[in-house]
Each structure stands twice: as C-alpha cells, then as structure tokens.
Symmetry: C2
Subunit: 284 residues, 2 copies
C-alpha cells in the first residue's frame, strides 16, 4: 500500500493503475477505522482491481460545537489494517490540500436540496453541504469508477446518490449494509466515546428501531405514534433523542399509505455522544 | 461533425476519441453563435485534437423576469458554422437530459461564495449558481482536458476558475479575449435584441469603459468618482446602468492602492436589453 498526501501524487499513481487497465473503487473515510469500514474495503475489492481509501477528517461537515478537534485520529493503526485488507492507495491529505481556497466558509460548496433541513440536517447545520462538498472534491481527485459508502449513514448515502445523479458525476455509488457489534449496536467511530455504562445502554437504539420495525411488520400504520413511542423508549433508556422517523426507503419521503419499502432512522445522544442508526423494512 | 443529444452517446464518442490519444477541449455555449464564439472554438482547436461544443440554454441561470423563453435558438445556422470551424462533437441536450432530477429549484446546486452578491450577481439572483451548476454537470459529462470561456463574461470566467480550483475539478479553464464589432461593441447574442437606434448607442458602453481606463492610466485614483461619472455618462447615453466597477483583475476585489492590474466592468440596460462589458487596465 502506498500512502499519498497530495492530489498531484495521487493522480499520477491512479493514472498508472488505469494504464494497466485497472478499475478504481474508492472508499472515503474519516479514519479511526473499524470492522464496518473494512467491510467497505472488502466490498470495493470485489468490484475493482485498485482500491483507493481516503482518510480525511473534514472540517466543513463539523459544526462549531461539534467534535472536529477531538475526532479520533488513529493513523498508524488505520494504515496497518488497510494494508492488511489489500488497499492499493491510501490518500491522506491535510486540510490545506483539500481547502487550498482558504476558509471552509469561503470555498465553493455543493448543496443537495432537501437534506440540510431534514433528519440529521435539522440538527447539524451545514453537515450535509460539508459532506457533499468534500465528497465532490475527493471524487474529482480520485476519479473512481465506483465509490462505496456504508448504509449506517443512510441519509448521507442517499444524498451522495442524488448529487451524483443531478450533476452527472461519472461515478457509481454503492451502499454496503451496516456492520454491527455482537449485541446489535451499529459500528461507529463515535462508539469509542462511550463509557462502559453508556456502551451497555447504547444497544437500545438498535432495539428500539427493531420495535418500530416489528410494529410495522405486525400491521401497524400509525406512523406518528410509532415514532413518538420510540422517542419515549429512547428517553427512558437515557438517550436524548433527536428524531425517530419512518420514511420511504428510496426517497426518504414521508411514506404514503401504499409504500412497502420503508426505513426507520434515528439519531439520539447518550451523554455527549450522538449516535445514529437505521433499519430497512419491507412490508408485504 | 457529429451531433449528440444524450450523455450516454456523448460519453461513448468521447471515449472513442480518447482511445485514439486525442485531447478534448470543450466550449460550452447557449447557441446563437457569433464570431466571438467561433474564436473560442478556434482557440480550442489549437490546444486539443477534439473540440466539443455544447449548445444548451440553461433555465437555471435565468430569472423569472428574464429572457429564457425568448433567448434566440438558431440551431441550424449554429450547426453550419460549427461544422465549418472543425468542431468534432456537438452536444445539444434538452432540459430533461440535463435536469433529469426534476425542477431546477430542486436539483443539487454548486455555489461559489462571493459571486451571487457582487456585480452581476446582485442584479440577477441565482444567475451564478445556475451557471456553476450547469457547467459542473457539463464538465462531468464531457470530462474535457480544457474548457474555453470568453472574457466578456469576466465574472463568470473567474467564478468557473474558482470553482474548478475549490472542487479540484480535473479541467484547465482558459479565457479568450473579447471579440468586438468594428465600432468596439462587445459581441453578444443579446446584441440581436437591439433596434437600429439602440445599436448605434450601444457602443457607448465600450467607450465609457475606455474613458475610465484613460482616467486610471492618466493617474487618477478617485475610483468612486470615476465609477460615478461613468454611470452618469451611460445614463446620458440612454442606458439604465446597473453598475460600473473598478476591481483587481485576478480577484475582483475592490482595488487596494498598490494594485496595478485592474479591470473595469459594467452592466447596463438599453431598452429591455441588458449588456455587459469590461476592459483590463495595467497601471505602470
């Protein structure tokens, strides 16, 4: 595995791989890699000869009160596991390399309507625009055939797909199912912030989503009540819930009565750690 | 010359040209081509073996009170002149092809800070975001090595350069000097809207810019007064001026006292036709 820190060096290496007829699959990450990330890399290996991973903690997607500064940087262990997984190229730019234009408030931004004011967007102003912008910049640097994202960040995945469609980016966007701990907790870099008591409680997020799913599968259609009960269950478990929301899977629209492919998404804070999760639901 | 209306067909043809080792230069236009456009095509031919021209009247950059519907579509004559100039590929998509995501208010947009609220941006809400968005989509379709724009739309040219830098788009952006009629009027598709009396007066826009240039070259540094006098001169000539503004050439910043590379830009309406122009100034 070769580690590159500049766009020029990255492009030169990718050009060489392409010249050998290799397809390029790209896995953008913020590092602090866990088994969920490695599953994205493994999937990328099944669709391309050359897997490029990026590690970049993107300041533009963090709010002023959020954890940009303390977001865990574990570069040595990240490199070791990516090497073991057969990553060809690791792109680790610094902030100046990505935002050479200066302050992140002053650079060209990419905005996907309908995301900044919905679900996580409502609670994290600028979050989705920050992601759309950095992913666009990374796509333009890597120019991959395919890019692989985790379904845990489901709203992000749908936004990237929408952006790629709207701007006709020459990239195939693929989602990979969420990887979970033994008890069901979705793997996340932020799980590392939880103390032992919080960690034991955290699984309730997944369990509560499962209860909503069970309700829908049992024929309940009182979506608002289901959401409200789930919010209460999370609060009882010690969470401060931001939302629990039942949506259509493909569009994230509030489901119409005929919809059968649904998803329930939630975000809730435990102590100071904000966790998100989702479960897909197919109603027959 | 081959005319293509779909992205899929365009990409296939460009792939074939690339496979022959050809470089791709791209000239995006809204059609109604005049000698200024042809100069862009001629320049493109000097830097690439394969010249791609697009003709697309972009609804996203027109305001509700603007001339989208009546913007001249002269496809047959446009095709003839492009053929004569040695254009390899002409891309003429319809609105649905570019905005498959639906209403232009609902699609992913690209915004370059500092342009929507300055110079033409102040008078045409949404104009620059509409351009940045459509150009991004066209770049992603054509994937050219270089793209060529006219300097008449100087603020647009600088915005595209800024966008390409900020998002690290793999395209070289090149500007070509404004082509003028015999009397000095900058060539523009909108000149065709002028009646004979207006056409005779229209040259005053260029002349007034020349007067500002002469003032600066003669040592005047009272920028605000120069701008104000130019506005009055335009009004006397029958224009309704939007702005006359002296700026730094590379940044469009209000010039600091040491700046030597300046540009004076103006926009003014004659009858119902809004004209723009600019002149660069080098102070020694």
């Amino acid at each position: 595995m070769e580690t590159l820190t500049t766009t020029a060096a990255l492009r030169e290496r990718i050009r060489a791989q392409r010249a050998q007829g290799q397809r390029i699959a790209f896995v953008p990450t913020m590092g602090n890699l866990h088994a969920g990330h490695l599953q994205l890399v493994q999937y990328a290996k099944t669709i391309a000869e050359c897997v490029v991973v990026s590690i970049f903690v993107n300041p533009m997607q963090f709010g002023p009160q959020e954890d940009f500064a303390r977001y865990p940087r574990t570069h040595d262990s990240d490199k070791a596991v990516l090497q073991d997984e057969g990553t060809a190229l690791l792109f680790m730019p610094d902030v100046q390399e990505i935002y050479a234009g200066g302050d992140v408030g002053q650079v060209t931004r990419v905005e996907v309507p309908g995301f900044e004011d919905d679900l996580c967007g409502q609670f994290r102003p600028g979050f989705f625009t920050g992601i759309a912008t950095v992913v666009t910049g990374l796509f333009n640097r890597v120019q991959p055939d395919s890019a692989v994202f985790g379904e845990k960040d489901y709203q992000q995945l749908l936004m990237i797909k929408r952006m790629v469609r709207d701007l006709c980016m020459p990239v195939e966007v693929l989602g990979v199912a969420t990887m979970r701990e033994a008890d069901g907790l979705a793997m996340s870099s932020r799980n590392g912030y939880l103390d032992a008591v919080q960690r034991a409680r955290a699984v309730r997020l997944y369990e509560v989503l499962g209860e909503v799913k069970a309700g829908l599968e049992a024929g309940r259609r009182d979506v608002g009540t289901l959401e409200q009960q789930a919010m209460e269950s999370l609060a009882e478990a010690g969470f401060k819930p931001d939302y629990v929301s039942i949506r259509e899977q493909d569009s994230l629209k509030v489901p119409n009565p005929q919809a059968t492919q649904l998803i329930v998404l939630a975000a809730a804070t435990l102590g100071t750690t904000r966790l998100i999760d989702n479960i897909k639901i197919s109603i027959t």
